[in-house]
């Protein structure tokens, strides 16, 4: 089966008079499957919005191909692509009613009047806005406008729906509710969603797969679990969640594993991934994969330099003997669990297989 959308070696360069040209996308290749909830995640300026605009047709690539179900659409104008967009600030037409907004795409496609009426009703019902068809966008709340923008974009039954940070203008509670809502809508409509966000939590909660982008390149593509648990490089490990980055040397390799020395008395086991004895390597280690214990012999030991209580967890900064510092996050889910104070001597336990060897 052909992918819904495929980017092949896509490049986009912005040229502004008097400035050096900016490579917004550098040879990007991606394949997005049918019915997938696919997220482009990265900091501002990473190229995620540029890629979305290239798929929508608001910009054209300087090189490469963009395929929609196998057909190259890279140089078609936006009105010739069966792709619709939910805009960051909704871009609802202020001079039209909600129903007229939702009908706009179908009207431009010259669908019969009866079909337009049915599709508008269905789309509004899907977002639970049936009662608001006669209102103007200015009479709706932000969340309601968001729903109308969504209904307007799916009413023409696009093959792919593009969502450009659609939740960023909503307040926190509404944003969290809309995440579940969007996930439901994607399941019910069966449309391929391409979602752009800089919010890792949004990406992790909604996506089937995530592409983490930075500086015009795709850093890693994978399911949320893989992205979080097995980041391929320092950027991904740093951008998604928190990580300790530990530099060390390989002291021993065995089949499928390596032992890395990060401090005189601190050895961490990891999967080998082609490392040889003596190599200098970097490890990423999630703070919640480390636990604190009594400073017994045999454990790497150190001193608690800071302890920050944040309700469901406590974050400790521990200075390991020999100089390096690690961040440890202990869940507060168990009652009667021991707490440590600043200045306490502690031992640290690293969960087996939790440390990731980083490429590059």
């Amino acid at each position: 089966m052909k992918p819904a959308v495929e980017a092949k070696s896509v490049s986009k360069i912005y040229e502004t008079a008097g400035h050096a040209p900016v490579k917004a996308l550098d040879n990007v290749s991606l394949a997005i499957a049918e019915n997938e909830f696919f997220t482009l995640l990265g900091p501002s300026g990473c190229g995620k919005t540029t890629l979305l605009r290239l798929i929508a047709g608001f910009e054209f690539p300087n090189g490469g191909h963009i395929l929609l179900q196998g057909q190259d659409i890279a140089h078609l104008p936006p009105d010739k692509r069966p792709v619709n967009t939910v805009f960051q600030h909704y871009a609802l037409f202020p001079h039209m009613t909600v129903a007229q907004n939702v009908a706009f795409g179908l009207r431009m496609l010259k669908r019969p009047q009866a079909e337009i009426g049915d599709s508008v009703r269905q789309a509004l019902a899907l977002v639970k806005m049936e009662a608001y068809g006669a209102r103007r966008p200015s009479q709706l709340s932000g969340g309601q406008q968001q729903r109308v923008a969504f209904a307007r974009a799916i009413a023409p039954h696009p093959k792919v729906l593009l969502l450009d940070e659609p939740l960023s203008a909503l307040d926190l509670k509404l944003r969290q509710a809309m995440r579940l809502e969007l996930k439901r809508l994607q399941r019910e409509t069966g449309i391929t969603f391409i979602f752009v966000t800089h919010d890792q939590e949004e990406a992790l909660t909604m996506s089937d797969r995530i592409a983490v982008m930075s500086a015009g390149h795709v850093q890693q593509v994978g399911e949320p679990l893989a992205i979080y648990e097995s980041p391929v490089n320092r950027f991904v490990a740093d951008f998604i969640g928190d990580s300790n980055f530990l530099d060390g040397a390989v002291v021993k390799t065995a089949k499928g594993g390596a032992l890395i020395k990060v401090a005189p008395n601190f050895l961490i086991e990891t999967s080998a991934a082609g490392a040889a004895k003596g190599d200098k390597v970097s490890l990423a280690l999630r703070p919640e994969k480390i636990t604190l214990a009594q400073p017994v012999k045999g454990l790497p030991r150190g001193v608690v330099r800071e302890a920050v209580y944040i309700g469901n967890s406590t974050t400790y900064m521990v200075e390991i003997d020999g100089g390096i510092g690690v961040t440890v996050r202990e869940s507060n889910s168990l009652s009667g669990q021991s707490h440590f104070a600043v200045g306490d001597r502690v031992g640290v336990v690293v969960e087996a297989g939790a440390a990731r060897l980083l490429a590059g």
Partner: protein, 266 residues
């Protein structure tokens, strides 16, 4: 401490004098246009006989018709040109000549009108001598189009700058061609600016005297030019009546302009 200019003594009197000085002559003019008595200084009772006389003597009706034709055509063309200019200057990617273009379009607003008038006259004289270019009233229409453009341009550009550019993208995304996006999304949202620009152009065209006076010839007299020619024979009640009509027309149009260009005008 007086914290507000309105708290200084005597302000009311000055303000009142200001309004009297500004509007009393017009009130007198309008009153006398309804005076039965031929002698302006003596009130002989209310009548509309000067208006009747005005419209039966010919001349004035022709001039009013000319003014109307010139204003309608000049406004229409100026608004179309202004919309096109605003779309290029506001919506296109910034280009080298954008700043200077905006300045050049707005320039006629600050150039003394007598200079524009002389220059326009010279243009038509040379054009006629060189290539026989002379369209009679068409000359006046052309001149009016040119000086109406900046008045139409300003409110349209302001409205377009306030308009979210993603509106057009949303329309294109929803299968509208560039023309349909303009027709169904940009133009309706731009409409208050377009109406404001049109009203302003219309009034400016209708009231213009200096430029029109320079280039008008026989059969191309507009209302202000006609009124001026009437004054040479003294201020007659007909002049008062004609001026009153002009004041009324301008007031109506400026009121519409003010109404649609209020902030939050939908």
């Amino acid at each position: 401490m007086r914290s507000h200019v309105g708290q200084y003594p005597g302000l009311r009197i000055w303000a009142a004098l200001f309004f009297v000085f500004l509007y009393a002559p017009m009130v007198v003019l309008i009153s006398y246009s309804f005076n039965t008595n031929k002698l302006a200084m003596i009130w002989g009772g209310f009548s509309v006989r000067w208006y009747e006389k005005l419209f039966t003597t010919g001349g004035i009706a022709d001039a009013a018709f000319n003014s109307l034709v010139v204003a309608v055509i000049a406004t229409t063309v100026a608004v179309v040109i202004a919309i096109a200019a605003a779309l290029v200057l506001v919506r296109q990617r910034p280009f080298g000549g954008a700043g200077i273009s905006t300045a050049l379009i707005s320039m006629p607003l600050i150039v003394p009108e007598i200079v524009t008038a002389v220059a326009t006259l010279m243009f038509f004289v040379i054009a006629k001598a060189a290539i026989g270019f002379d369209f009679g009233i068409g000359n006046i229409v052309l001149a009016h189009i040119v000086f109406c453009i900046p008045f139409a341009f300003m409110p349209i550009r302001a409205r377009l700058s306030d308009m979210d550019g993603t509106m057009e993208q949303a329309a294109r995304d929803l299968y509208a061609t560039p023309w349909q996006a303009f027709r169904y999304v940009t133009l309706p949202i731009l409409m208050p600016g377009v109406i404001a620009g049109a009203m302003l152009s219309f009034v400016i065209s209708l009231d213009d005297f200096i430029i029109t006076q320079m280039i008008s010839g026989p059969g191309t007299t507009t209302l202000p030019v006609y009124i001026y020619s009437m004054i040479r024979n003294g201020i007659t009640p007909e002049v008062n009546a004609a001026s009153t009509i002009l004041i009324a027309a301008s007031t109506v149009l400026v009121t519409i302009y003010w109404y649609v260009s209020r902030p939050n005008a939908k």
